[in-house]
């Protein structure tokens, strides 16, 4: 067990990045923080600065305009961190598959920047809050074994 990734899996601080999503996924992420779903049970909380972030919750199909911003956020984040692609758009571009202005999915952009960055895919259009929490917890449990 690697203690750095163990720490992240125990207290994942979430930072929310919108790369051109239709806003449904964003609302579902905010739902995770509401009393009914309470992501704080797993130590998660929403932070306002990428410097504090452990999990970048990325939504949307990565429009051309948002790519440079997203890359700057990746550079600003304190390592080690992981990226969670929330929603079908972020996982595979979904319905924007052939759109001229989208250069996603998220994994393609992170791989072009740095092969090492781990991407966690949480599909759904939008994924229900239960699905987001389930995906996060499953992914973070597997993360414990990995060296970041």
């Amino acid at each position: 067990m690697n203690w750095k990734s163990w720490g992240i899996s125990k207290s994942p601080w979430l930072y929310h990045v919108n790369t051109g999503s239709c806003n449904n996924c964003d609302i579902e992420i905010v739902d995770c923080l509401t009393p009914k779903f309470d992501v704080e049970r797993f130590g998660g909380k929403l932070v306002g600065s990428p410097r504090h972030a452990d999990v970048l919750m990325v939504t949307g199909p990565m429009t051309r305009k948002s790519k440079p911003r997203f890359e700057r956020i990746l550079e600003a984040s304190a390592k080690p961190f992981i990226v969670a692609a929330v929603g079908t758009c972020a996982c595979s571009k979904g319905m924007f598959h052939d759109a001229y202005n989208c250069i996603g999915p998220v994994r393609k952009v992170t791989e072009a920047l740095d092969e090492e960055i781990m991407v966690l895919n949480i599909p759904g259009c939008p994924p229900r809050p239960e699905a987001i929490i389930d995906g996060l917890v499953t992914g973070l449990n597997q993360l414990k074994e990995v060296k970041l």
Binding site: K4, K10, S11, D38, G43, G48, R51, H52, A78, K79
Partner: protein
């Protein structure tokens, strides 16, 4: 002698104790807040996990910032709180106290806020500079009523030693009770809790002065917050509520401490945030006159010799 000093600094009222008790206190804050909001809340060791994780992360030093003060500022807060905790706990527990230790503790308690200001100013980020600015303004507002309230307590108990305060609870008189209320509100602001959390306003300033901090240095700020959760209510308990002693007295002291802490949490969870100017008005026109009345009552009671005034 050296051995007991090392023990003081690193084990009992020092580092280990403040950290462990601070982690518990921070968990109590998060858990009680969660229960008030009908949530389940974090597990017991969550604050410890947070800090362990932060110490495993990368430390980014922003370009264009003042590097040295950026690195040194986070150390100020825990250092000041550590010393304050040693003086407070030892004066209660062992009765070791020196003349003027109240004043020393008051000065040490300024250090955490000052460290946030210095750290925020040295990042070179405009949002964090704004947060530091607000923190300074908040300090200017709450220091006045806090000092007035503590002065009232000093007049009431008749000495500058912390050990004298613990002999008889100051709050068991009219002036003491008024001073306690004013000081409680100041502690709320000193902890940076809602309604006085303008410096760290998450929605507008994204964490305020701490926006650029990451990794171990952010962890030091979190540690300073944990320790403040222990030390500041303990200061109130010592000065106004009669402190604690050994044996059953320690349990009674812990109950008083928890009551003060839960009071602070209840205020935190049932109020909206005040703007900077509203907070200033609140402290200067609301809390400061209250503390001043407490001081006048204490002096008058002292002169004509009525105990309960």
């Amino acid at each position: 002698m050296v051995g007991s000093l090392v023990f003081d600094f690193f084990v009992f009222p020092g580092l280990l104790f403040t950290l462990a008790a601070g982690i518990l206190a921070s968990w109590v804050v998060r858990k009680v807040s969660a229960l008030i909001q009908w949530r389940v809340g974090p597990p017991l060791l969550q604050p410890a996990y947070d800090i362990a994780k932060l110490f495993g992360k990368e430390n980014i030093i922003p370009k264009g910032g003042a590097e040295w003060s950026y690195i040194i500022a986070p150390l100020l807060g825990p250092a000041g709180l550590l010393l304050a905790s040693i003086i407070l706990v030892n004066s209660n527990y062992l009765g070791t106290s020196f003349i003027g230790d109240v004043i020393v503790v008051l000065y040490l308690l300024v250090l955490p806020a000052l460290s946030v200001v210095v750290g925020g100013m040295s990042t070179g980020n405009s949002l964090s500079a704004m947060g530091s600015n607000r923190e300074l303004r908040l300090m200017v507002s709450y220091e006045l009523p806090l000092l007035l309230a503590v002065t009232a307590a000093i007049v009431k108990s008749g000495g500058l030693k912390l050990a004298i305060f613990t002999a008889r609870p100051v709050a068991a008189s009219v002036s003491g009770a008024l001073g306690f209320i004013a000081a409680l509100l100041c502690i709320q602001a000193e902890l940076g809790f809602i309604p006085f959390d303008t410096p760290e306003a998450e929605t507008e300033l994204m964490g305020g002065p701490l926006i650029e901090y990451s990794g171990p240095l952010l962890g030091l700020y979190k540690i300073s917050n944990l320790m403040a959760l222990l030390v500041l209510p303990l200061f109130l308990v010592t000065v106004f509520l009669g402190g604690f002693s050994t044996g059953w007295g320690a349990l009674w002291g812990a109950i008083k401490y928890l009551l003060v802490l839960v009071g602070i949490i209840l205020i935190k969870n049932t109020n909206p945030r005040l703007r900077s100017d509203q907070a200033l008005k609140f402290f200067w026109y609301g809390a400061a006159p209250l503390a001043l009345i407490a001081l006048i009552l204490a002096v008058v009671g002292d002169l004509i010799g009525i105990g309960w005034v």
